[in-house]
């Protein structure tokens, strides 16, 4: 099949890219998504989208940029941050014009709430289902354009890149079980993060991150993968997200003595300190015996106290949190504490791209015709720690930028010829997937058992508190999982909607993504943002103010480093909140 532009992934970044590309040029666009297009994990984003909408004496683009740079523990590329804060209000207004039901002030302007690490309230929201409302609006607006074709439940298995130029992909059509070759002039990768590398996560079952592994295999590079964000408040024991909006609206965190313990960790910002700091505070409380213990799971937790907020705030501003707490833990937030603990939430790292989302090879050269946007990419605006509500802004801004750039590129570029080489590549994939993986003798290892081992190894060895010796024990475990994957057993022998086969393909990519996290974390001998090492508890700007670039060299992960781009903020303060 041939299209001008392929968009791989259908979250906010992918759909925003599709809209912008379709409006920019009368080109033939295809969205390939491993889920049905409107069901991507962006729907689960709750709290809001940061943007300085109404600059005044309290807020400015400069202040939003400063908060983001400081929040990133100075690892963000400052030119990219400046682009983010400049474009974010433009994008919020675009989303307003296409129909997002933003929550409103009485005069019709958009409401904004407080969020962690932001100096002033600048998080625009649609109740506490902001991601869902943006997704739904983007998806329905896609239906306006005849030049966007949607491929629901197409799982991309391989990126075809030749002499530094994107050519196409192969994808498994889940509904028929056929492998298809897509050739295109350009592509945007917008496949999201890799939360499911860990067991306890807020992310959807589909947020597995295999595309990051595929990227490594295709000769691309991953940047800053060791920076994994733990969101402070996930429901125990399911891991379902309780938005930071709960604290933005005035919620407290309390330990079992009823103490607002954040006063000992961030005396000024308290519960609204950035996520890395709040997550470590909660885990410290639990480790030191001041947490509660969940009976069935044995998990430690603290209480999220919303009782003083009153029914009005709960029903109007955070109704979803109220519903989730009631439904999944049987708690009425007006009467009781919500049991929460930190869970893996966001992948700060991702595919190595430049400020405009162009995908870079390990040597820094552009892979022509290829872009990446959203959580899948590391631009990098979040550096070592993302501030809450900056991700929806990032997805929308870089969705737009890459969509427009890729559309313009696709207008000029020649259509790839149906060459024997690409057909061979597709046949190679068919043989790998159907002959080797699908029709294996029985007796191998279950996909789910191996996936469980991967998640346990990541939790145990590459968690929120890291140590060289522990990580050194983790790497051989991951390598053994890599080796054992060769014996994985796909028990479903059918072609139609073979999820068991899809799960195996996912796991294959996940293992490589996990290795990039592991090697990056072991190598970085400092603590910065979400990467915290007990054996190196201080930030070390002299040696480590640089991005990690991971790539494959002879099938092994190799690391190199590139400088952080610094524009205005040259005073690297200690992060106190």
């Amino acid at each position: 099949m041939k299209h001008d532009l392929l968009i791989i992934g259908s979250g906010i970044a992918g759909l925003r890219a599709a809209l912008q590309a379709a409006y920019t040029a009368k080109i033939d666009i295809a969205i390939l998504s491993k889920v049905q297009v409107m069901r991507s994990h962006s729907v689960s984003a709750e709290g809001g989208m940061s943007a300085v909408l109404y600059p005044d004496k309290n807020d400015s683009l400069e202040l939003h940029a400063y908060d983001t740079v400081k929040g990133s523990d100075y690892l963000a590329d400052q030119d990219a941050v400046e682009l983010l804060v400049q474009m974010a209000p433009i994008e919020v207004r675009f989303l307003e014009r296409i129909g997002v039901p933003w929550s409103r002030l009485p005069d019709g302007r958009m409401y904004q709430r407080a969020f962690g690490g932001m100096s002033v309230p600048r998080t625009t929201f649609a109740a506490d289902k902001t991601g869902f409302f943006i997704m739904s609006t983007l998806y329905q607006n896609i239906l306006r354009f005849d030049n966007i074709k949607q491929y629901h439940e197409y799982f991309v298995t391989k990126l075809i890149i030749e002499n530094g130029e994107f050519k196409g992909v192969t994808a498994l059509d889940l509904k028929t079980g056929e492998l298809k070759l897509f050739l295109a002039k350009a592509a945007i990768i917008a496949t999201g993060g890799a939360g499911r590398l860990y067991r306890f996560t807020t992310t959807a079952h589909s947020t597995t991150g295999e595309m990051l592994g595929l990227a490594l295999r295709s000769g691309l590079a991953l940047k800053d993968m060791e920076f994994v964000q733990w969101h402070p408040t996930a429901l125990v024991p399911s891991g379902i997200l309780v938005s930071e909006a709960a604290r933005g609206e005035g919620g407290y965190l309390v330990n079992k003595q009823g103490e607002r313990f954040m006063k000992r960790y961030a005396p000024q910002k308290m519960e609204l300190a950035p996520r890395d700091i709040v997550s470590r505070a909660i885990l410290t409380e639990i480790a030191e015996g001041r947490g509660f213990v969940h009976e069935e799971s044995g998990m430690g937790y603290v209480g999220l106290d919303l009782r003083h907020l009153g029914e009005g705030v709960l029903n109007q501003k955070i109704p979803f949190i109220t519903e989730l707490a009631h439904k999944y833990v049987g708690v009425d937030p007006l009467e009781e504490l919500i049991p929460v603990r930190p869970a893996v939430h966001y992948t700060m790292g991702g595919i190595h791209v430049d400020t405009y989302g162009r995908v870079l090879a390990p040597d820094g050269s552009w892979v022509r015709g290829l872009w990446a946007a959203g959580e899948a990419a590391a631009v990098s605006v979040h550096g070592a720690n993302r501030l809450g509500s900056n991700s929806l802004s990032e997805c929308s801004v870089w969705g737009r930028l890459t969509g427009e750039a890729a559309a313009k590129y696709a207008m000029e570029a020649p259509t790839p010829a149906t060459d024997e080489r690409y057909i061979k590549a597709a046949q190679g994939e068919e043989s790998r997937i159907f002959d080797k993986l699908l029709h294996k003798e029985t007796g191998g290892i279950s996909v789910y058992e191996l996936k469980g081992r991967l998640q346990d190894a990541m939790e145990q060895h590459f968690g929120p508190f890291r140590q060289g010796s522990t990580m050194k024990e983790g790497i051989p475990k991951l390598l053994k999982i890599r080796e054992d994957f060769a014996n994985v057993r796909v028990e479903d022998g059918g072609r139609v909607y073979n999820q068991n086969l899809k799960d195996a393909l996912e796991l294959d990519g996940m293992i490589d993504a996990a290795l990039a996290v592991a090697y990056g974390a072991l190598a970085r001998q400092e603590s910065r943002g979400a990467h915290y090492r007990l054996d190196y508890p201080r930030r070390d700007d002299e040696n480590w103010l640089k991005h990690t670039v991971a790539f494959f060299n002879g099938g092994q992960i190799q690391l190199s480093y590139i400088p952080v781009r610094i524009t205005k903020w040259t005073k690297f303060e200690e992060r106190k909140y």
Partner: protein, 237 residues
């Protein structure tokens, strides 16, 4: 705790059969989706279920549970009480495999009602204007914007069951949602689409759509609001 019996209506592309699984559970605070995934991972990896967010917002896991169209992730065992659970694929949809159905016809019907802001495209894409919306204007369509496109209303609708051409509650609620939005100017265009036999006039007011909606959207009411607007020849909803 006694083992749970889960009866699943299966389909492999050719034949259909009922299969029974016994599942040990530690708690009833888990969802039907959790149980199905436990079966997939521990007993039968050939079982097909569409799922993703597990928090009732992505709309993937609609199915019929003990005779009622519901989201599997939103249905806790504690609500079921019984130690036997029966699950079958959503009614009124072509089954692809096991509990996975083809919902693409729903999306095509949605496309027909033009579910997006209709106003000057150049203004939308090239201006940097904030249109603005008062809270009371938001309130007018807000309930209907909660639709997660799961298809449960389509599964429950007795008219969809007999008339596949009927646009159905999902698309018709969207027609109301967009036309009632103060930023939209598309009602005259959409009125022509829904003022038809395939549109609102086929609705028999069974209200099963509203009864099963997992997000509390009231598509039945949206359809009646559209009918009322058509009757009084309203210029704008």
């Amino acid at each position: 705790m006694p083992a749970l019996t889960v009866k699943v209506k299966r389909f492999d592309g050719r034949k259909s059969w009922w299969q029974e699984y016994k599942v040990d559970i530690k708690s009833r605070k888990i969802s039907v989706l959790d149980v199905l995934l436990k079966i997939k991972e521990e007993q039968d990896p050939t079982l097909a279920v569409r799922y993703s967010c597990r928090m009732a917002i992505c709309g993937s896991c609609g199915m019929v549970i003990n005779g009622v169209p519901r989201l599997a992730c939103q249905t806790l065992l504690a609500e079921i009480k019984d130690d036997t659970i029966t699950v079958e694929p959503m009614w009124n949809h072509r089954v692809i495999k096991d509990l996975v159905v083809d919902t693409e016809p729903n999306f095509e019907k949605l496309r027909k009602v033009k579910p997006y802001t209709i106003r000057d495209l150049k203004e939308i894409y090239e201006s940097d204007r904030e249109i603005g919306q008062k809270p009371e204007e938001l309130e007018k369509y807000y309930n209907f914007a909660y639709c997660i496109e799961c298809g449960l209303c389509m599964a429950a609708c007795p008219v969809v069951a007999t008339n596949p051409r009927f646009l159905g509650p999902m698309a018709l609620a969207a027609a109301y949602r967009w036309s009632a939005d103060s930023r939209d100017q598309g009602w005259p265009v959409r009125a022509k689409i829904v003022d038809t036999d395939e549109g609102v006039w086929s609705c028999h007011l069974a209200y099963t759509c509203s009864a099963v909606c997992p997000r509390g959207v009231d598509p039945g009411f949206a359809i009646q609001l559209v009918k009322a607007a058509l009757m009084r020849r309203a210029k704008k909803l």
